[in-house]
C-alpha cells in the first residue's frame, strides 16, 4: 500500500496521530506537499463524505476525520505557501439572521475544508449585509447560508438581495441549505444552488470552483 493510500485510510478512520506521522513521513521521503494533499488527504476526506452521505458513518466519525484532516493540513500549509500551492477557492458561510442553529452549518464547513476550500465562518444569526461584507473583504467566490427554521428561511432571500444591492451578484455563487429549504425555494429567491446535505454541498462547491 502506498503511503498516500495509508494517509487516506488513516484519515477515514479518524486516526489523527497516524495521519500526522504519515504526512511527515511522506514529506521526509521527498514527496511534494501538494501531492500529499491532493492524493492523500483529500481522497480520504472524499471517502468520508461519501460514507456520511450514505449514512454509513455519522457526525462524530466525520468530526474525528475532519480533525485528522486539519492536523495533516496544518503541517502542509507553510510548505504549500512556499511552493505556491493554492486552495481551490474561498467561501463564506453562516446561519442566517434570526437563526441560531449551527450544527448543519458546521458540517458543511468541515466538508468544504475537506475539499480544499478555504472557509470563513461567520457563525449564526448573520445578516445579509454581513454575508456580503465578508464575501467582499475575503474575495470569496461562494456564499453558503443555511436556515433550520421556516420562520428564518426567508432571511436567505435577504442575502441574495444584499448581494444584488452591493453589485457582487456576478462575482459570487450563493449556495443555500437547511431543513425547510427546497430547490423550489432556492429558485424562488434567486439563489444559485440548493444542496440537500453537507457532503453534496461540498461536491457542489468544488464543482463551482473548478468550473
Amino acid at each position: 500500500m502506498s503511503i498516500l493510500t495509508e494517509i487516506g485510510e488513516a484519515l477515514e478512520r479518524g486516526k489523527r496521530k497516524q495521519v500526522v506521522a504519515l504526512v511527515k513521513q511522506a514529506l521526509e521521503e521527498g514527496m511534494e506537499p501538494q501531492k500529499v494533499l491532493t492524493e492523500g488527504l483529500l481522497p480520504g476526506m472524499d471517502a468520508v463524505g461519501i460514507k456520511f452521505r450514505n449514512n454509513e458513518i455519522f457526525v462524530p466519525e466525520v468530526l474525528v476525520a475532519a480533525r485528522a484532516m486539519s492536523a495533516g493540513t496544518e503541517i502542509l500549509k507553510p510548505l504549500l505557501a512556499e511552493t505556491g500551492g493554492t486552495s481551490l477557492g474561498k467561501a463564506v458561510i453562516g446561519t442566517v439572521k434570526g437563526d441560531l442553529h449551527d450544527i448543519g452549518k458546521n458540517l458543511v464547513k468541515m466538508m468544504l475544508e475537506g475539499k480544499g476550500i478555504d472557509v470563513v465562518d461567520l457563525g449564526v444569526d448573520v445578516s445579509g449585509d454581513a454575508f456580503v461584507q465578508a464575501a467582499i473583504e475575503n474575495e470569496a467566490q461562494i456564499i453558503c447560508c443555511s436556515a433550520l427554521l421556516t420562520t428564518t428561511m426567508n432571511s436567505i432571500g435577504d442575502v441574495v438581495k444584499a448581494a444584488q444591492d452591493a453589485g457582487i451578484r456576478d462575482k459570487v455563487k450563493i449556495m443555500i441549505g437547511g431543513a425547510p429549504v427546497t430547490q423550489e425555494f432556492c429558485d424562488s429567491i434567486g439563489a444559485d444552488y440548493y444542496t440537500v446535505d453537507a457532503a453534496s454541498a461540498a461536491i457542489c462547491a468544488a464543482e463551482i470552483l473548478t468550473a
Partner: protein
C-alpha cells in the same frame, strides 16, 4: 365528563378518552426560581416574568436569548473537555430553592383542571453540548479516551434530573415531563444507533423509569430524522414523542407504530393565519389521524388565543 387532565391521563394509560387530547389541555409550569427557564426564555408561571431572558443557566453556562428566533443559544462553554467535569461542574443545589414558597406564589396558577407539565430543556446529550460544545460532545461519544467520563457525567446528571423532577411533582403536582434532546440531523441520526445504545440509552431508560415511578408521563422531544430510533424510544418506555415534522414522515410512523405508542402530531402555523385557514389546518389534521390515538400539539406560535380556543372546541367533538 372528564377534566382535561383526566382525559390526558386516560389517554396515556391506554384507557378510553372522551376527545382527542390536545396540548391546550396542559398547563406549562416553568417557574423563574429555576434559572434554566430564564436562560432559555420560557418562564411560565403565575406572575408575569418581567426580567431579562438569557444569562446563566443553573450550571453557570451563559445563554443569549434572541427574541426573533424565540430561543436561546449558549455563548460559552464551561469545560475544555469532559474530563474536567468532576472538578469544574457545580451541580445546582436543589435544597437552596424555596419550593414551598414557590408553590404558594403559584397556587392560583396551579389550581387547574389541566395536566401540569414541565420541561427539561437539555437532555443528557444537549447538556453535554452546553458544557463542551457540539463538536466536542459528538466526538466524546465515540472517543474511547473520553467515554468513561461521559458515562460518569451522564450518570450524575440523570440522578440530578430525577431529583429535580421529583420535586416538581411533589411541590407542584407536575405530571408530565418533556425532555428535550435532539438526536437527529435533517436527514439522519447525529450518531450511530450503536453510539446511542451505548452512550445515551442507559440514562434515558433510568430517567423514564424514575418518571414512571412517580406516576408521571415522559414526553421525549427530539428533533431530526430519528425514525430509526422509534423502536428504541418505545422500548425505553417513553409515553410520547414529538419532533421536527419536516424531518420524518409522521403519518407513516403513526400507522406503523401507533398501536403501541402515542405520537404527538402538530398543527402548525409559523405565520399568522385567518380563522378559516386555522380551522382548515386543524380539520385536516383531525381527518388524517381520525382513527389514531395521537396527542395534538399546537406549534409554530402564530395561532391566536381565539384560534387555540377554536381548536379545543373542535377536538371536543372528536
Amino acid at each position: 365528563m372528564y377534566t382535561p387532565r383526566e382525559n390526558l391521563m386516560h389517554f396515556f394509560r391506554n384507557e378510553p378518552v372522551e376527545w382527542k387530547p390536545i396540548s391546550t389541555d396542559m398547563l406549562n409550569f416553568l417557574p423563574e426560581v429555576v434559572p434554566e427557564y430564564v436562560a432559555r426564555g420560557t418562564v411560565a408561571q403565575q406572575k408575569p416574568f418581567t426580567g431579562q431572558y438569557g444569562g446563566p443557566d443553573w450550571f453557570g453556562v451563559n445563554w443569549y436569548y434572541d427574541p426573533v428566533a424565540r430561543g436561546s443559544m449558549e455563548t460559552m462553554h464551561l469545560l475544555d473537555d469532559i474530563s474536567e467535569w468532576e472538578e469544574k461542574v457545580v451541580f445546582p443545589d436543589l435544597d437552596a430553592i424555596d419550593w414551598e414558597n414557590c408553590a404558594r406564589e403559584n397556587a392560583e396558577y396551579l389550581n387547574t383542571d389541566k395536566l401540569i407539565c414541565t420541561t427539561v430543556y437539555s437532555g443528557i446529550f444537549e447538556r453535554l453540548i452546553s458544557m463542551i460544545g457540539f463538536e466536542d460532545a459528538a466526538v466524546a461519544l465515540i472517543d474511547e479516551e473520553q467515554q468513561e467520563d461521559v458515562h460518569a457525567f451522564f450518570e450524575r446528571l440523570t440522578d440530578f434530573y430525577i431529583e429535580y423532577i421529583k420535586r416538581m411533582h411533589k411541590y407542584f403536582n407536575v405530571e408530565f415531563v418533556t425532555v428535550h434532546d435532539d438526536w437527529g440531523t435533517q436527514d439522519s441520526l447525529i450518531f450511530s444507533e450503536e453510539s446511542h445504545k451505548e452512550m445515551i440509552e442507559p440514562y434515558v431508560r433510568k430517567l423514564i423509569k424514575a418518571v414512571h415511578d412517580e406516576g408521571m408521563v415522559y414526553d421525549l422531544h427530539s428533533c431530526g430524522k430519528i425514525d430509526k430510533l422509534i423502536p428504541t424510544i418505545i422500548d425505553m418506555g417513553a409515553d410520547t414523542w414529538r419532533g421536527q415534522e419536516t424531518a420524518v414522515n409522521k403519518y407513516e410512523l403513526v400507522k406503523k407504530y401507533g398501536n403501541h405508542f402515542k405520537f404527538t402530531v402538530v398543527v402548525r402555523a409559523d405565520e399568522p393565519v385567518d380563522d378559516d385557514n386555522a380551522r382548515k389546518k386543524m380539520q385536516e389534521l383531525l381527518n388524517t389521524y381520525k382513527d389514531d390515538r395521537v396527542l395534538i400539539a399546537i406549534g409554530g406560535g402564530a395561532f391566536t388565543p381565539s384560534q387555540r380556543n377554536m381548536f379545543e372546541k373542535m377536538v371536543r367533538k372528536t
